[in-house]
Amino acid sequence: MKVDFWGHEFEVNMVVGCIGGFLIAIMSSMFGFGGGPFMVPLMTVALGLPMYIVVGSSLLAIFFNTAMGTMRHMQFGNFDLLLFLAMFPAALLGGYLGPQIAKRLSPLVVKRVACVGLILLGLKLLGLY
Protein backbone atom coordinates (compact mmCIF):
# COMPACT_ATOMS: atom_id res chain seq x y z
CA MET A 1 0.00 0.00 0.00
CA LYS A 2 1.24 3.45 -0.85
CA VAL A 3 1.11 6.11 1.83
CA ASP A 4 1.52 9.80 1.22
CA PHE A 5 2.81 12.03 3.98
CA TRP A 6 3.66 15.69 3.55
CA GLY A 7 4.58 15.20 -0.03
CA HIS A 8 6.69 12.10 0.61
CA GLU A 9 5.52 8.75 -0.58
CA PHE A 10 6.13 5.51 1.30
CA GLU A 11 5.49 1.93 0.39
CA VAL A 12 3.95 0.06 3.34
CA ASN A 13 3.64 -3.68 3.62
CA MET A 14 0.17 -3.86 5.12
CA VAL A 15 0.24 -7.63 5.58
CA VAL A 16 3.12 -7.40 8.02
CA GLY A 17 1.60 -4.30 9.62
CA CYS A 18 -1.79 -5.88 10.13
CA ILE A 19 -0.53 -9.20 11.44
CA GLY A 20 1.87 -7.46 13.79
CA GLY A 21 -0.81 -5.01 14.90
CA PHE A 22 -3.26 -7.85 15.45
CA LEU A 23 -0.86 -9.78 17.68
CA ILE A 24 0.16 -6.70 19.63
CA ALA A 25 -3.51 -5.83 20.08
CA ILE A 26 -4.32 -9.25 21.52
CA MET A 27 -1.44 -9.04 23.93
CA SER A 28 -2.05 -5.48 25.01
CA SER A 29 -5.80 -5.83 25.49
CA MET A 30 -5.27 -9.10 27.34
CA PHE A 31 -2.85 -7.51 29.78
CA GLY A 32 -4.45 -4.09 29.80
CA PHE A 33 -1.79 -1.74 28.51
CA GLY A 34 -1.61 0.63 25.58
CA GLY A 35 0.78 -1.06 23.22
CA GLY A 36 2.62 2.03 21.97
CA PRO A 37 6.14 0.87 22.87
CA PHE A 38 5.59 -2.22 20.71
CA MET A 39 3.73 -0.54 17.86
CA VAL A 40 6.39 2.11 17.30
CA PRO A 41 9.24 -0.41 16.79
CA LEU A 42 6.94 -2.52 14.60
CA MET A 43 6.20 0.39 12.32
CA THR A 44 9.70 1.84 12.25
CA VAL A 45 11.69 -1.39 12.00
CA ALA A 46 9.43 -3.97 10.36
CA LEU A 47 7.66 -1.51 8.07
CA GLY A 48 10.66 0.76 7.64
CA LEU A 49 8.70 3.95 8.19
CA PRO A 50 10.33 7.10 9.55
CA MET A 51 9.54 8.22 13.07
CA TYR A 52 7.63 11.33 12.06
CA ILE A 53 4.92 9.43 10.26
CA VAL A 54 4.75 6.77 12.95
CA VAL A 55 4.11 8.84 16.09
CA GLY A 56 0.65 10.07 15.18
CA SER A 57 -0.49 7.17 13.05
CA SER A 58 0.49 4.50 15.57
CA LEU A 59 -1.47 6.38 18.22
CA LEU A 60 -4.52 6.27 15.98
CA ALA A 61 -4.12 2.53 15.41
CA ILE A 62 -3.71 1.88 19.13
CA PHE A 63 -6.77 3.93 19.91
CA PHE A 64 -8.89 1.42 18.00
CA ASN A 65 -7.48 -1.37 20.13
CA THR A 66 -7.92 0.47 23.42
CA ALA A 67 -11.50 1.45 22.62
CA MET A 68 -12.46 -2.08 21.66
CA GLY A 69 -10.54 -3.61 24.58
CA THR A 70 -12.26 -1.27 27.01
CA MET A 71 -15.68 -2.22 25.69
CA ARG A 72 -14.94 -5.92 25.91
CA HIS A 73 -13.51 -5.69 29.40
CA MET A 74 -16.66 -3.88 30.50
CA GLN A 75 -18.77 -6.56 28.86
CA PHE A 76 -16.97 -9.26 30.84
CA GLY A 77 -17.39 -7.31 34.06
CA ASN A 78 -13.72 -6.49 34.50
CA PHE A 79 -14.24 -2.78 34.99
CA ASP A 80 -14.35 -1.28 38.47
CA LEU A 81 -15.75 2.23 38.48
CA LEU A 82 -14.32 3.36 41.83
CA LEU A 83 -10.82 2.17 41.03
CA PHE A 84 -11.13 3.89 37.67
CA LEU A 85 -12.20 7.13 39.34
CA ALA A 86 -9.13 6.99 41.57
CA MET A 87 -6.73 6.36 38.72
CA PHE A 88 -8.20 8.49 35.95
CA PRO A 89 -7.54 11.95 37.47
CA ALA A 90 -4.06 10.81 38.44
CA ALA A 91 -3.38 9.73 34.87
CA LEU A 92 -4.56 13.10 33.56
CA LEU A 93 -2.48 14.99 36.10
CA GLY A 94 0.53 12.83 35.30
CA GLY A 95 0.05 13.47 31.59
CA TYR A 96 0.08 17.20 32.32
CA LEU A 97 3.06 17.21 34.70
CA GLY A 98 5.11 14.67 32.76
CA PRO A 99 6.10 16.80 29.76
CA GLN A 100 7.14 19.66 32.05
CA ILE A 101 9.47 17.42 33.98
CA ALA A 102 10.68 15.78 30.78
CA LYS A 103 12.11 19.09 29.57
CA ARG A 104 14.58 19.12 32.44
CA LEU A 105 15.80 15.58 32.14
CA SER A 106 17.99 13.83 29.62
CA PRO A 107 15.88 11.28 27.76
CA LEU A 108 18.89 9.02 27.49
CA VAL A 109 19.32 8.78 31.25
CA VAL A 110 15.60 8.31 31.78
CA LYS A 111 15.51 5.47 29.28
CA ARG A 112 18.48 3.71 30.84
CA VAL A 113 16.97 4.02 34.31
CA ALA A 114 13.65 2.75 32.95
CA CYS A 115 15.49 -0.13 31.33
CA VAL A 116 16.97 -1.28 34.64
CA GLY A 117 13.64 -0.76 36.40
CA LEU A 118 11.80 -2.84 33.80
CA ILE A 119 14.29 -5.69 34.09
CA LEU A 120 13.97 -5.74 37.87
CA LEU A 121 10.17 -5.64 37.72
CA GLY A 122 10.15 -8.30 35.03
CA LEU A 123 12.38 -10.63 37.03
CA LYS A 124 10.25 -10.08 40.10
CA LEU A 125 7.13 -11.06 38.18
CA LEU A 126 8.88 -14.16 36.95
CA GLY A 127 9.58 -14.96 40.59
CA LEU A 128 13.33 -15.04 40.12
CA TYR A 129 14.05 -12.99 43.21
Binding site: M1, D4, G17, G56, F63, R72, N78, L82, A86
Partner: protein, 425 residues
Protein backbone atom coordinates in the same frame (compact mmCIF):
# COMPACT_ATOMS: atom_id res chain seq x y z
CA UNK B 1 -8.10 -50.89 57.77
CA UNK B 2 -5.53 -48.75 59.47
CA UNK B 3 -8.17 -46.47 60.78
CA UNK B 4 -10.02 -49.26 62.48
CA UNK B 5 -6.97 -50.15 64.55
CA UNK B 6 -6.39 -46.63 65.72
CA UNK B 7 -10.04 -46.25 66.56
CA UNK B 8 -10.15 -49.44 68.63
CA UNK B 9 -8.28 -48.28 71.74
CA UNK B 10 -10.24 -45.05 71.69
CA UNK B 11 -13.41 -47.02 71.47
CA UNK B 12 -12.40 -49.16 74.42
CA UNK B 13 -11.62 -46.06 76.42
CA UNK B 14 -14.92 -44.58 75.53
CA UNK B 15 -16.69 -47.76 76.59
CA UNK B 16 -15.13 -47.51 80.02
CA UNK B 17 -16.01 -43.89 80.46
CA UNK B 18 -19.41 -44.18 78.92
CA UNK B 19 -21.36 -45.82 81.73
CA UNK B 20 -20.35 -43.02 84.08
CA UNK B 21 -21.09 -40.10 81.83
CA UNK B 22 -23.58 -41.69 79.52
CA UNK B 23 -26.50 -39.65 80.61
CA UNK B 24 -24.64 -36.38 80.65
CA UNK B 25 -23.10 -37.06 77.24
CA UNK B 26 -26.30 -37.99 75.57
CA UNK B 27 -27.72 -34.73 76.71
CA UNK B 28 -24.74 -32.71 75.56
CA UNK B 29 -24.53 -34.32 72.16
CA UNK B 30 -27.98 -33.27 71.32
CA UNK B 31 -27.36 -29.66 72.21
CA UNK B 32 -25.89 -27.31 69.66
CA UNK B 33 -22.82 -25.26 70.56
CA UNK B 34 -23.46 -21.85 72.00
CA UNK B 35 -21.83 -18.86 70.35
CA UNK B 36 -20.86 -15.40 71.57
CA UNK B 37 -18.79 -12.70 69.89
CA UNK B 38 -16.82 -10.27 72.01
CA UNK B 39 -17.67 -7.23 69.91
CA UNK B 40 -20.36 -6.24 67.46
CA UNK B 41 -18.14 -4.67 64.81
CA UNK B 42 -14.65 -4.34 63.36
CA UNK B 43 -12.95 -1.39 61.74
CA UNK B 44 -11.43 -2.55 58.44
CA UNK B 45 -10.33 -5.89 59.82
CA UNK B 46 -8.90 -6.64 63.22
CA UNK B 47 -9.39 -9.28 65.82
CA UNK B 48 -12.67 -10.61 67.11
CA UNK B 49 -13.06 -13.44 69.57
CA UNK B 50 -15.73 -16.05 69.40
CA UNK B 51 -16.41 -18.28 72.36
CA UNK B 52 -18.99 -20.70 73.65
CA UNK B 53 -19.72 -24.18 74.82
CA UNK B 54 -19.52 -27.17 72.52
CA UNK B 55 -20.11 -30.82 73.41
CA UNK B 56 -17.18 -32.17 75.40
CA UNK B 57 -14.47 -33.81 73.33
CA UNK B 58 -15.63 -32.43 70.03
CA UNK B 59 -13.58 -30.75 67.35
CA UNK B 60 -14.69 -27.17 66.88
CA UNK B 61 -14.60 -25.31 63.55
CA UNK B 62 -15.63 -21.72 63.01
CA UNK B 63 -16.79 -20.56 59.61
CA UNK B 64 -16.79 -16.83 58.85
CA UNK B 65 -18.07 -15.25 55.68
CA UNK B 66 -19.30 -12.01 54.24
CA UNK B 67 -23.06 -12.14 53.77
CA UNK B 68 -23.90 -9.03 51.81
CA UNK B 69 -20.98 -8.81 49.46
CA UNK B 70 -20.50 -11.35 46.76
CA UNK B 71 -18.00 -11.36 43.97
CA UNK B 72 -17.26 -13.09 40.74
CA UNK B 73 -14.87 -16.00 40.60
CA UNK B 74 -13.87 -18.00 37.59
CA UNK B 75 -11.57 -20.80 36.65
CA UNK B 76 -10.50 -22.21 33.35
CA UNK B 77 -9.77 -25.89 33.44
CA UNK B 78 -7.26 -26.79 30.78
CA UNK B 79 -5.42 -29.50 32.69
CA UNK B 80 -5.30 -32.88 31.10
CA UNK B 81 -7.50 -35.39 32.85
CA UNK B 82 -5.13 -38.17 33.99
CA UNK B 83 -7.85 -40.80 33.55
CA UNK B 84 -9.19 -40.03 30.09
CA UNK B 85 -6.20 -38.13 28.72
CA UNK B 86 -8.51 -35.44 27.43
CA UNK B 87 -8.22 -31.74 28.09
CA UNK B 88 -11.57 -30.50 29.38
CA UNK B 89 -11.35 -26.81 28.32
CA UNK B 90 -14.06 -26.01 30.79
CA UNK B 91 -14.76 -22.51 32.04
CA UNK B 92 -16.39 -22.20 35.46
CA UNK B 93 -17.98 -18.95 36.54
CA UNK B 94 -19.89 -17.83 39.59
CA UNK B 95 -21.15 -14.47 40.75
CA UNK B 96 -22.04 -15.62 44.23
CA UNK B 97 -18.67 -16.15 45.85
CA UNK B 98 -18.62 -14.59 49.35
CA UNK B 99 -16.27 -11.61 49.16
CA UNK B 100 -14.58 -12.85 52.30
CA UNK B 101 -14.39 -16.41 53.56
CA UNK B 102 -12.38 -18.19 56.22
CA UNK B 103 -12.55 -21.28 58.40
CA UNK B 104 -10.85 -21.37 61.77
CA UNK B 105 -9.79 -24.86 62.78
CA UNK B 106 -8.53 -26.43 66.03
CA UNK B 107 -5.12 -25.23 67.12
CA UNK B 108 -3.58 -28.71 67.06
CA UNK B 109 -3.97 -28.81 63.29
CA UNK B 110 -1.49 -26.01 62.64
CA UNK B 111 1.13 -28.48 61.26
CA UNK B 112 -1.27 -29.45 58.45
CA UNK B 113 -1.53 -25.82 57.44
CA UNK B 114 2.24 -25.42 57.55
CA UNK B 115 2.56 -28.38 55.26
CA UNK B 116 0.11 -26.82 52.81
CA UNK B 117 1.99 -23.52 52.96
CA UNK B 118 5.19 -25.34 52.08
CA UNK B 119 3.55 -26.47 48.84
CA UNK B 120 3.49 -22.88 47.66
CA UNK B 121 0.82 -21.85 45.20
CA UNK B 122 0.04 -25.44 44.23
CA UNK B 123 -1.55 -26.37 47.56
CA UNK B 124 -4.90 -28.11 47.37
CA UNK B 125 -7.71 -26.54 49.34
CA UNK B 126 -9.98 -29.57 49.18
CA UNK B 127 -7.22 -31.85 50.48
CA UNK B 128 -6.44 -29.59 53.41
CA UNK B 129 -10.12 -29.33 54.22
CA UNK B 130 -10.32 -33.09 54.27
CA UNK B 131 -7.19 -33.66 56.31
CA UNK B 132 -8.10 -31.12 58.94
CA UNK B 133 -11.72 -32.21 58.95
CA UNK B 134 -12.72 -28.67 58.14
CA UNK B 135 -14.93 -29.82 55.28
CA UNK B 136 -17.51 -30.46 57.97
CA UNK B 137 -17.70 -26.69 58.38
CA UNK B 138 -17.49 -25.84 54.69
CA UNK B 139 -21.00 -24.57 54.05
CA UNK B 140 -21.37 -21.04 52.75
CA UNK B 141 -19.67 -21.44 49.36
CA UNK B 142 -20.82 -25.04 48.88
CA UNK B 143 -24.14 -24.09 47.36
CA UNK B 144 -23.23 -21.14 45.19
CA UNK B 145 -24.53 -21.22 41.67
CA UNK B 146 -21.75 -22.15 39.29
CA UNK B 147 -22.12 -21.82 35.55
CA UNK B 148 -20.14 -24.16 33.40
CA UNK B 149 -19.13 -23.37 29.84
CA UNK B 150 -17.61 -25.69 27.32
CA UNK B 151 -14.95 -23.50 25.74
CA UNK B 152 -13.64 -24.17 22.27
CA UNK B 153 -10.82 -22.55 20.39
CA UNK B 154 -13.27 -21.16 17.87
CA UNK B 155 -15.49 -19.71 20.57
CA UNK B 156 -12.50 -18.09 22.22
CA UNK B 157 -11.46 -16.52 18.94
CA UNK B 158 -14.94 -15.16 18.47
CA UNK B 159 -14.69 -13.91 22.02
CA UNK B 160 -17.47 -15.95 23.53
CA UNK B 161 -17.31 -18.03 26.67
CA UNK B 162 -18.60 -21.10 24.87
CA UNK B 163 -21.72 -23.17 25.38
CA UNK B 164 -23.43 -23.03 28.72
CA UNK B 165 -23.78 -26.58 30.01
CA UNK B 166 -26.34 -28.02 32.40
CA UNK B 167 -25.83 -27.34 36.06
CA UNK B 168 -23.61 -29.75 37.94
CA UNK B 169 -24.90 -32.09 40.58
CA UNK B 170 -24.53 -31.07 44.20
CA UNK B 171 -21.36 -33.02 44.83
CA UNK B 172 -19.53 -31.82 41.72
CA UNK B 173 -20.71 -28.32 42.36
CA UNK B 174 -19.31 -28.40 45.88
CA UNK B 175 -16.00 -29.76 44.66
CA UNK B 176 -15.76 -27.08 42.00
CA UNK B 177 -16.71 -24.41 44.52
CA UNK B 178 -13.63 -25.36 46.54
CA UNK B 179 -11.45 -24.84 43.50
CA UNK B 180 -13.05 -21.49 42.85
CA UNK B 181 -12.59 -20.50 46.50
CA UNK B 182 -8.94 -21.41 46.27
CA UNK B 183 -8.52 -19.52 43.00
CA UNK B 184 -10.18 -16.50 44.49
CA UNK B 185 -8.40 -16.33 47.87
CA UNK B 186 -5.25 -18.20 46.82
CA UNK B 187 -3.29 -18.32 50.05
CA UNK B 188 -3.58 -20.77 52.92
CA UNK B 189 -3.57 -17.91 55.42
CA UNK B 190 -6.46 -16.21 53.71
CA UNK B 191 -8.66 -19.25 53.98
CA UNK B 192 -7.65 -21.18 57.06
CA UNK B 193 -6.21 -20.47 60.47
CA UNK B 194 -5.63 -22.84 63.38
CA UNK B 195 -6.69 -20.77 66.35
CA UNK B 196 -9.58 -22.60 67.98
CA UNK B 197 -8.78 -23.68 71.53
CA UNK B 198 -11.00 -26.13 73.34
CA UNK B 199 -10.90 -27.25 76.95
CA UNK B 200 -11.71 -30.77 78.10
CA UNK B 201 -15.29 -29.87 78.96
CA UNK B 202 -15.89 -28.50 75.48
CA UNK B 203 -15.64 -24.76 76.11
CA UNK B 204 -14.00 -23.15 73.11
CA UNK B 205 -12.51 -19.79 72.22
CA UNK B 206 -11.15 -18.67 68.90
CA UNK B 207 -9.34 -15.47 68.10
CA UNK B 208 -10.31 -14.58 64.58
CA UNK B 209 -8.01 -12.21 62.78
CA UNK B 210 -9.49 -10.58 59.74
CA UNK B 211 -7.02 -8.86 57.48
CA UNK B 212 -7.40 -5.35 56.16
CA UNK B 213 -9.07 -4.78 52.86
CA UNK B 214 -11.88 -7.26 53.24
CA UNK B 215 -15.42 -6.50 52.19
CA UNK B 216 -17.43 -4.29 54.54
CA UNK B 217 -20.87 -5.13 55.86
CA UNK B 218 -22.38 -8.01 57.69
CA UNK B 219 -20.40 -11.17 58.40
CA UNK B 220 -21.90 -14.39 59.62
CA UNK B 221 -20.16 -16.73 62.03
CA UNK B 222 -21.23 -20.33 62.58
CA UNK B 223 -19.63 -22.91 64.78
CA UNK B 224 -19.61 -26.55 63.79
CA UNK B 225 -18.70 -29.09 66.43
CA UNK B 226 -17.78 -32.52 65.16
CA UNK B 227 -18.61 -35.04 67.83
CA UNK B 228 -17.79 -38.23 66.04
CA UNK B 229 -16.16 -39.45 62.87
CA UNK B 230 -16.88 -42.97 61.72
CA UNK B 231 -14.66 -44.31 59.01
CA UNK B 232 -15.97 -47.17 56.95
CA UNK B 233 -13.60 -47.98 54.14
CA UNK B 234 -13.52 -44.85 51.98
CA UNK B 235 -16.66 -43.42 53.38
CA UNK B 236 -16.58 -41.17 56.35
CA UNK B 237 -19.67 -40.36 58.34
CA UNK B 238 -19.39 -37.22 60.37
CA UNK B 239 -21.66 -36.48 63.28
CA UNK B 240 -21.79 -32.79 63.87
CA UNK B 241 -23.83 -30.14 65.56
CA UNK B 242 -24.09 -26.59 64.33
CA UNK B 243 -24.54 -23.45 66.36
CA UNK B 244 -26.87 -20.63 65.56
CA UNK B 245 -25.58 -17.86 63.33
CA UNK B 246 -23.87 -14.94 65.02
CA UNK B 247 -22.93 -11.84 63.08
CA UNK B 248 -20.78 -8.77 63.21
CA UNK B 249 -20.19 -5.76 61.01
CA UNK B 250 -16.95 -4.86 59.28
CA UNK B 251 -16.84 -1.09 58.90
CA UNK B 252 -14.82 0.63 56.24
CA UNK B 253 -14.61 4.40 55.96
CA UNK B 254 -13.37 6.79 53.28
CA UNK B 255 -10.80 7.03 51.70
CA UNK B 256 -10.89 3.28 52.03
CA UNK B 257 -13.72 2.10 49.83
CA UNK B 258 -15.09 -1.21 48.76
CA UNK B 259 -14.56 -2.09 45.12
CA UNK B 260 -17.58 -4.17 44.32
CA UNK B 261 -16.28 -5.91 41.21
CA UNK B 262 -12.90 -6.58 42.77
CA UNK B 263 -14.42 -7.72 46.06
CA UNK B 264 -11.88 -5.91 48.21
CA UNK B 265 -11.60 -2.68 50.11
CA UNK B 266 -8.76 -0.42 49.21
CA UNK B 267 -7.48 2.98 50.27
CA UNK B 268 -8.08 5.01 47.13
CA UNK B 269 -5.14 7.26 47.88
CA UNK B 270 -2.68 4.54 46.94
CA UNK B 271 -3.86 3.83 43.41
CA UNK B 272 -4.13 7.59 42.90
CA UNK B 273 -0.53 8.29 43.95
CA UNK B 274 0.77 5.23 42.17
CA UNK B 275 -0.95 6.19 38.92
CA UNK B 276 0.32 9.74 39.20
CA UNK B 277 3.94 8.71 39.63
CA UNK B 278 3.74 6.07 36.92
CA UNK B 279 1.93 8.35 34.48
CA UNK B 280 4.71 10.94 34.86
CA UNK B 281 7.34 8.26 34.49
CA UNK B 282 5.50 6.90 31.47
CA UNK B 283 5.66 10.27 29.75
CA UNK B 284 9.37 10.54 30.55
CA UNK B 285 10.29 7.24 29.02
CA UNK B 286 7.88 7.57 26.15
CA UNK B 287 5.87 4.45 26.93
CA UNK B 288 2.39 4.24 28.31
CA UNK B 289 2.11 3.80 32.04
CA UNK B 290 0.00 0.67 31.76
CA UNK B 291 3.11 -1.44 31.36
CA UNK B 292 4.28 -0.62 34.84
CA UNK B 293 0.96 0.18 36.49
CA UNK B 294 -0.58 -3.24 35.87
CA UNK B 295 2.19 -5.42 37.28
CA UNK B 296 2.71 -3.12 40.26
CA UNK B 297 -0.99 -3.07 41.06
CA UNK B 298 -1.26 -6.86 41.03
CA UNK B 299 1.96 -7.16 43.03
CA UNK B 300 1.18 -4.76 45.86
CA UNK B 301 -2.56 -5.37 46.05
CA UNK B 302 -2.73 -9.15 45.87
CA UNK B 303 -6.42 -8.98 46.61
CA UNK B 304 -7.13 -7.20 43.33
CA UNK B 305 -7.90 -9.76 40.62
CA UNK B 306 -5.79 -9.31 37.49
CA UNK B 307 -8.89 -9.21 35.32
CA UNK B 308 -10.10 -6.12 37.17
CA UNK B 309 -6.68 -4.49 36.98
CA UNK B 310 -6.39 -5.04 33.24
CA UNK B 311 -9.99 -4.02 32.60
CA UNK B 312 -9.74 -0.83 34.63
CA UNK B 313 -6.32 0.43 33.62
CA UNK B 314 -7.15 0.18 29.94
CA UNK B 315 -9.90 2.82 29.90
CA UNK B 316 -7.71 5.29 31.80
CA UNK B 317 -5.38 5.63 28.84
CA UNK B 318 -8.26 5.94 26.39
CA UNK B 319 -8.71 9.66 27.01
CA UNK B 320 -5.02 10.44 26.89
CA UNK B 321 -4.84 8.70 23.53
CA UNK B 322 -7.92 10.51 22.32
CA UNK B 323 -6.50 13.91 23.17
CA UNK B 324 -3.17 12.91 21.63
CA UNK B 325 -4.89 12.01 18.38
CA UNK B 326 -6.79 15.29 18.43
CA UNK B 327 -3.58 17.28 18.91
CA UNK B 328 -1.77 15.43 16.14
CA UNK B 329 -4.72 15.73 13.79
CA UNK B 330 -4.83 19.49 14.31
CA UNK B 331 -1.35 19.80 12.84
CA UNK B 332 -2.16 17.07 10.28
CA UNK B 333 0.33 14.69 11.71
CA UNK B 334 -1.71 11.57 11.28
CA UNK B 335 -1.82 9.46 8.22
CA UNK B 336 -5.42 8.28 8.41
CA UNK B 337 -5.07 5.58 5.83
CA UNK B 338 -2.16 3.94 7.63
CA UNK B 339 -3.62 4.43 11.10
CA UNK B 340 -7.05 3.08 10.25
CA UNK B 341 -5.62 0.24 8.18
CA UNK B 342 -3.56 -1.14 11.03
CA UNK B 343 -6.25 0.02 13.45
CA UNK B 344 -8.74 -2.41 11.91
CA UNK B 345 -6.38 -5.31 12.60
CA UNK B 346 -5.93 -4.06 16.13
CA UNK B 347 -9.68 -3.77 16.54
CA UNK B 348 -9.92 -7.51 15.98
CA UNK B 349 -7.11 -8.19 18.42
CA UNK B 350 -8.74 -5.98 21.02
CA UNK B 351 -11.91 -8.00 20.62
CA UNK B 352 -10.18 -11.26 21.45
CA UNK B 353 -7.70 -10.18 24.12
CA UNK B 354 -10.02 -9.40 27.05
CA UNK B 355 -11.58 -12.84 26.72
CA UNK B 356 -8.19 -14.42 27.26
CA UNK B 357 -7.54 -12.46 30.45
CA UNK B 358 -10.08 -14.48 32.40
CA UNK B 359 -8.76 -17.76 31.07
CA UNK B 360 -5.42 -17.36 32.79
CA UNK B 361 -4.57 -17.41 36.47
CA UNK B 362 -2.82 -14.63 38.32
CA UNK B 363 0.43 -16.58 38.29
CA UNK B 364 0.28 -17.01 34.53
CA UNK B 365 -0.56 -13.33 34.21
CA UNK B 366 2.53 -12.40 36.21
CA UNK B 367 4.71 -14.84 34.31
CA UNK B 368 3.70 -13.55 30.90
CA UNK B 369 3.95 -9.96 32.04
CA UNK B 370 7.44 -10.63 33.32
CA UNK B 371 8.54 -11.65 29.83
CA UNK B 372 6.75 -8.73 28.22
CA UNK B 373 8.65 -6.37 30.49
CA UNK B 374 11.97 -8.02 29.67
CA UNK B 375 11.29 -7.63 25.95
CA UNK B 376 10.26 -4.04 26.55
CA UNK B 377 13.43 -3.30 28.47
CA UNK B 378 15.35 -4.73 25.52
CA UNK B 379 13.53 -2.32 23.21
CA UNK B 380 14.19 0.47 25.65
CA UNK B 381 17.90 -0.34 25.70
CA UNK B 382 17.99 -0.49 21.92
CA UNK B 383 16.66 3.06 21.88
CA UNK B 384 19.72 4.20 23.80
CA UNK B 385 22.29 2.60 21.49
CA UNK B 386 24.42 5.03 19.45
CA UNK B 387 23.13 3.82 16.08
CA UNK B 388 19.54 4.38 17.05
CA UNK B 389 20.29 7.77 18.57
CA UNK B 390 22.02 8.94 15.40
CA UNK B 391 19.04 7.94 13.28
CA UNK B 392 16.65 9.36 15.80
CA UNK B 393 18.45 12.71 15.82
CA UNK B 394 17.94 13.15 12.08
CA UNK B 395 14.32 12.19 12.30
CA UNK B 396 13.70 14.42 15.26
CA UNK B 397 15.06 17.31 13.20
CA UNK B 398 12.70 16.47 10.33
CA UNK B 399 9.87 16.04 12.80
CA UNK B 400 10.54 19.47 14.24
CA UNK B 401 10.67 21.02 10.79
CA UNK B 402 7.37 19.41 9.83
CA UNK B 403 5.76 20.47 13.07
CA UNK B 404 6.87 24.03 12.54
CA UNK B 405 5.49 24.08 9.04
CA UNK B 406 2.26 22.51 10.21
CA UNK B 407 1.79 25.03 12.96
CA UNK B 408 2.46 27.90 10.60
CA UNK B 409 -0.05 26.52 8.14
CA UNK B 410 -2.64 26.22 10.87
CA UNK B 411 -1.94 29.79 11.92
CA UNK B 412 -2.24 31.25 8.46
CA UNK B 413 -5.25 29.10 7.76
CA UNK B 414 -3.77 28.57 4.35
CA UNK B 415 -4.61 25.22 2.94
CA UNK B 416 -4.40 23.37 -0.29
CA UNK B 417 -0.94 24.57 -1.29
CA UNK B 418 1.92 22.17 -1.74
CA UNK B 419 3.57 22.99 1.55
CA UNK B 420 0.27 22.79 3.41
CA UNK B 421 -1.47 19.60 2.31
CA UNK B 422 -5.13 19.37 3.21
CA UNK B 423 -5.30 15.65 3.47
CA UNK B 424 -2.92 12.77 3.26
CA UNK B 425 -3.81 9.90 1.07
Amino acid sequence: MKVKFSVLPLLALAMMVLPITQQAQAKEEASAPTITLDKPSLDNGGEITVSGQAPAGSQVYVEVYSVEKQVRANRFDSKKDPKTGKVPYMFYLTHEMPAAYKIFIPKEMAPELDKAKADGSSWKYSEVLKKTGANAAYNAPAKIKIDRYQATIMASILGSRGNLLDAMNEKDSKRESMKLVKGRFRKVDNLLAATVETTADGAYTAKMKLRKGLAPGKYNVTVTAVTERIQEGDKETVKKVKSEVASFENNVSFPTVYLSTAGTSINLLWPFLLTLVIAIFGVLMGAGGGFILNPILVSIFPALPHTIVAGTVMPTVLFAQGSGIYNYSKIKFINWKLGIGIGCAMLLGGFIGPKLTELITLDQFKFAFGWILLVLSGLMYWQTTPGYLEKNKKEQAILKEFKKRAEECAKRGEEGTKSCPTEQK
